[in-house]
């Protein structure tokens, strides 16, 4: 993954979005086949956000995400095998079947979940950044959350704390206009989220979350500002989820026309058009990327299916570290 490069790499951005898309399309099939269970929250439609933001991070930076975490995990570099095995509840890699689809955690890439309490990840991100600030490092913590989380007290307390202490956090709001069935206008008295965030004396701006190049540019400035010691920054990515909130959700609260309208701005489609216009993408390279993505997904599924179950005897292992492996 190019880190902090001055110009975006459209091919790489497309490749990452495609990986996430194909991965989740397979998740849908696997869920219907009951290979994956629990709530599964899909990122389909929102891929440009993770894909555009995460290239700006260094290996030693940290990422905090929500239950809608497949995209961030994959783009951050959590191996697809590991994520898929976790969804299968297998013991191989990451959480050894304890976390599941909504709790992908991966220490090597400093990927801190996978938090299923809305707003719960924000204080965590503030603390990770506090540790960096107190240890004099220039590491950055990016915290992803939805617009619905902004109504929680945790958002308010975390923004204030990060701003007061000038902590290196990028608050990345994925505004997909809905919190389950609740539209933004019914959850925020100030629907202009960047304006809202700036009331904490935190620099805040918005970007088109369907245009990965726009996200890349906006995040580039944001991460630089944070890394240079400017304190926290708030970035809103205006996006939309093409699927229901979770596999449980019949999606009664959005009208089909609205969904169709947004599908026309599918982040993969938008970038494809741009690249074709620029001549940097043709049918062949597209087909190759797709074959590679599908192959990676196939391999991950195979890996997961060959995975073994964590022994029931180990159920209580890791409740405390004394039970953890050295």
């Amino acid at each position: 993954m190019t880190v902090g490069s001055a110009r975006p790499d459209p091919v790489e951005l497309y490749r990452q979005m495609l990986r996430v898309r194909r991965f989740e399309e397979r998740c849908v099939q696997l869920y219907s086949a009951t290979a994956i269970r629990g709530f599964v929250h899909l990122y389909i439609g929102e891929e440009a956000v993770a894909a555009g933001v995460l290239p700006h991070l260094r290996a030693d930076d940290a990422v905090v995400a929500t239950y809608r975490d497949h995209g961030q995990a994959l783009v951050r570099g959590v191996p697809m095998n590991a994520s898929m095995a976790e969804m299968y509840g297998k013991q191989q890699v990451v959480c050894r079947g304890r976390g599941g689809t909504r709790h992908l955690f991966h220490a090597p890439t400093r990927f801190y979940g996978g938090n299923a309490i809305v707003g719960g990840g924000l204080p965590l991100a503030v603390g990770l950044a506090l540790a960096d600030a107190m240890q004099g490092s220039d590491r950055v913590t990016v915290c992803f959350f939805g617009e619905g989380a902004m109504a929680e007290g945790e958002f308010h307390e975390s923004m204030n704390l990060a701003a007061l202490w000038k902590l290196p956090v990028l608050f990345l709001c994925e505004n997909n206009l809905y919190a389950m069935g609740t539209a933004l206008s019914r959850s925020e008295s100030e629907p202009n989220l960047a304006v809202k965030a700036s009331s904490y004396e935190v620099p805040a701006w918005s970007c088109d979350g369907m245009d990965v190049l726009a996200v890349w540019e906006a995040a580039h400035r944001a991460v630089e500002l944070v890394r240079d010691g400017g304190g926290p920054v708030f970035l809103e990515a205006k996006t939309y989820r093409f699927r229901a909130h979770s596999m449980y959700d019949p999606d009664r609260y959005r009208d089909k026309a609205e969904i169709e309208h947004w599908r026309e701005r599918d982040p993969l489609l938008l970038l494809e058009r741009t690249m074709r216009a620029a001549g940097s993408l043709d049918d062949e390279s597209l087909a190759t990327m797709d074959t590679e993505a599908l192959a990676e997904v196939d391999a991950a599924v195979a890996f997961a299916e060959q995975g073994t179950d964590e022994p029931v005897a180990d159920l209580t292992r890791f409740v405390t570290s004394s039970g953890a492996m050295p």
Binding site: G97, G99, G100, R102, G148, M180, S187, Y253, T316
Partner: protein, 331 residues
């Protein structure tokens, strides 16, 4: 003549109770995350928005502390709010309002005020939702003076407890186990309020008393059935109300059976099972032939993987084993 009945799910029973309450009492309204347009996180309030409108089926932002506190204030202001907290896991964010205000107000004000508030929340594990969505924290609420805590385990109680709770002048917490929503039973078409003070004997027996509540009742009834096969006649008691506990029903059974096992989906240590066990021993010490057994959830954050989650929760096997140990333990 027998009363007319119709097949009803636990989910429908709660919905009907809500609808009836709102038709009969204009002060009653439902408030919570996604109770309106979404139809409720678990579909309980589906369709109510259409009948009662958005004033009375009130979607809230993600703000557990504020909308629960607003329910307390609305109750003080003359309304009869039913506040839905999507799951008990999120109720931690509202505990301060519930414990420090709702539960304390009547006593703290010398009886000047009372808080006729009903809070409903889904509880329990079993759906592979993992550590942050599988808590059973009924025991915490059952610890707090000033609250009444109920856990409907049957369709009839799901229908009746809400209405009875709305008649209570003080805060009532209703725990709905997520695994029960789909359970169907014949419900009297004219089903009405139920008694909130008494536990219920769900299956009679003379050899051992199995005490449980809420989502564990079906498992315990299966265990009792299995025990019958082994020649052990288990009496199954559904506590129904977790605060205040109905000791009399439990102890009168134990005085007859001389053995008891408490089954609770909560964690074992410092949970509901400990209180029931302690009370039985305090009141039936000289009639007990063996120590009271406990079958609870293994003390781990609930894991996602199906086989691990299953192993963590109370099972027929574990209940049967505990019952046989109790009955067999004295020779």
């Amino acid at each position: 003549m027998t009363r007319a009945t119709k097949p009803t799910t636990y989910r429908e029973a709660i919905r009907e109770a809500l609808a009836e309450a709102m038709r009969e009492d204009p002060r009653v309204f439902l408030m919570g995350e996604d109770v309106g347009r979404y139809g409720g996180g678990f579909g309980v309030s589906l369709g109510l928005l259409e009948e009662f409108g958005e004033e009375r089926i009130r979607d809230t932002p993600l703000s557990e502390s504020a909308f629960v506190g607003a329910g307390i204030g609305a109750a003080l202001g003359g309304l009869r709010p039913v506040v839905e907290i999507m799951t008990v896991n999120f109720s931690l964010l509202a505990l301060d309002q519930i414990v420090n205000t709702a539960a304390a107000l009547s006593h703290m004000t010398g009886g000047q005020l009372n808080v006729p508030l009903v809070i409903r929340m889904t509880t329990g594990a079993g759906r592979q939702l993992a550590a942050q969505h599988s808590h059973s924290l009924e025991c915490w609420y059952a610890h707090v003076p000033g609250l009444r805590v109920v856990a409907p385990a049957t369709v009839e109680d799901a229908r009746g407890m809400l209405w009875s709770a709305l008649q209570d002048p003080d805060p009532v917490i209703i725990f709905e186990h997520g695994s029960l929503y789909g359970v169907t039973a014949e419900l009297a078409c004219d089903a009405g309020p139920v008694d909130l003070d008494r536990a219920a004997v769900r299956r009679p027996g003379d050899d051992i008393t199995l005490v449980t509540s809420g989502g564990s009742l079906p498992t315990v009834l299966d265990a009792a059935q299995a025990l019958a096969g082994h020649g052990i006649r288990a009496e199954v008691i559904d506590l129904r109300t977790l605060r205040p506990l109905d000791d009399a029903t439990v102890t009168s059974s134990v005085r007859r059976t001389h053995h008891a096992v408490v089954v609770d989906e909560g964690w074992r240590s410092v949970g509901l099972s400990a209180e029931v066990s302690a009370r039985i021993t305090e009141q039936c010490f000289y009639e007990l032939d063996a120590p009271v057994g406990r079958v609870c959830t293994v003390e781990v954050p609930i894991p996602y993987a199906a086989h691990l989650e299953r192993a963590a929760l109370p099972s027929v096997e574990r209940i049967v084993a505990a019952a046989e140990e109790a009955v067999g333990s004295h020779g």
